[in-house]
């Protein structure tokens, strides 16, 4: 690092670089998003084809029409499916981001990383608990809109600590969540769009912008 410098352009560049590096989590990899998207698509396929019987009957009417015992079995499998997707997608997100930080020779766990997680987790955990309550009650049809909306709010909240795309991904998820609430019979479709397709689209955009 040079100690003295007379070129104001280089000074400004150094200032900008330091401001970004000290306040933003720049290790987030686009591949994390692509991987999470494919996990969600796989999870949605399992839900649709294996648990919901290829959607022969529209899914929330189907669930409401089931008797008590079989409804709770279906709910149980859907919850296991969702939790499995969440765990695998999160592990993938960590894997690709830690790999990116190693490649760039930057520490992974820094102040911006802590800020990002703090701001992400509050709405995220709230939404998770709320969704769990909905599943245990008789309101499973609201789970898709609720998870989309709370996930979107988490991303908007955490977006200022990382790349700007995350903010817009958050807004997209919120809009999809509201549509999922309006077209309540098509919850799984909007869930697949939001958690599957949008993660892949934004992940590819971020990968091409920042990692090539």
């Amino acid at each position: 690092m040079k100690t003295k410098n007379k070129d104001p352009k280089e000074d400004l560049l150094a200032i900008r670089n330091m401001m970004e590096r000290s306040s933003k989590f720049l290790s987030l990899s686009g591949l994390s998003g692509v991987f999470a998207g494919f996990c969600a698509l796989a999870g949605a396929a399992v839900a649709y084809f294996l648990i919901l019987d290829s959607g022969q009957i529209q899914f929330d009417n189907y669930l409401l029409s089931l008797g008590n015992t079989s409804a709770s079995t279906v709910r149980f499998y859907l919850a296991i499916d969702a939790v499995a997707v969440l765990i695998v997608a999160t592990l993938g997100a960590f894997y690709f981001s830690i790999r990116k930080s190693r490649k760039a020779n930057q520490p992974f766990w820094t102040n911006p990383t802590r800020n990002l997680f703090g701001h992400l987790l509050i709405p995220f955990v709230t939404g998770g608990i709320f969704a769990f309550i909905l599943v245990s009650g008789n309101n499973i049809q609201l789970v898709a809109p609720v998870t989309l909306i709370f996930y979107g709010l988490s991303l908007v909240n955490a977006g200022k600590f990382t790349f700007g795309e995350i903010h817009y991904l958050g807004l997209t998820e919120i809009v999809l969540g509201i549509f999922a609430a309006i077209f309540i019979n098509h919850g799984l479709l909007f869930w697949t769009l939001g958690f599957g397709v949008m993660h892949i689209v934004y992940g590819i955009v971020m990968y091409y912008r920042y990692e090539r």
């Binding site: 690092m1 000074d11 400004l12 150094a14 401001m19 102040n111």
Partner: protein, 98 residues
């Protein structure tokens, strides 16, 4: 017209001090280790620059114990932030002139 160079702050001539201050402009406070990681400096080198900034009241230091471990955090003062903004504006004007 005033020469923008007169607004360049001597204290920010060093790239290291410029870096410390840039980081403290966008973070409420940072501890010693965070600054060390960001600037990739040795303890002694960083400490001497921090001392310099502290003496000119551009930053304030506070020491406390977090879980029984001593922790030193650094924060930019209001006047320090103002000086930094003046310095930034002067840099910008210099670029626009050339």
């Amino acid at each position: 017209m005033k020469n923008p160079i007169s607004n360049l702050q001597k204290v920010f001539e060093s790239r290291i001090r410029l870096g410390i201050m840039s980081a403290l402009m966008v973070n409420d406070f940072l501890d010693f280790n965070a600054l060390k990681e960001l600037l990739e400096l040795t303890d002694g080198n960083l400490a001497s620059h921090l001392k310099g900034l502290e003496q000119q009241e551009i930053i304030v230091v506070s020491k406390q114990f977090i879980e029984r471990k001593p922790s030193t955090t650094y924060k930019a003062t209001e006047s320090g932030k103002e000086l930094f903004r003046q310095h930034l504006n002067a840099l910008e004007e210099l670029i626009n002139r050339n």
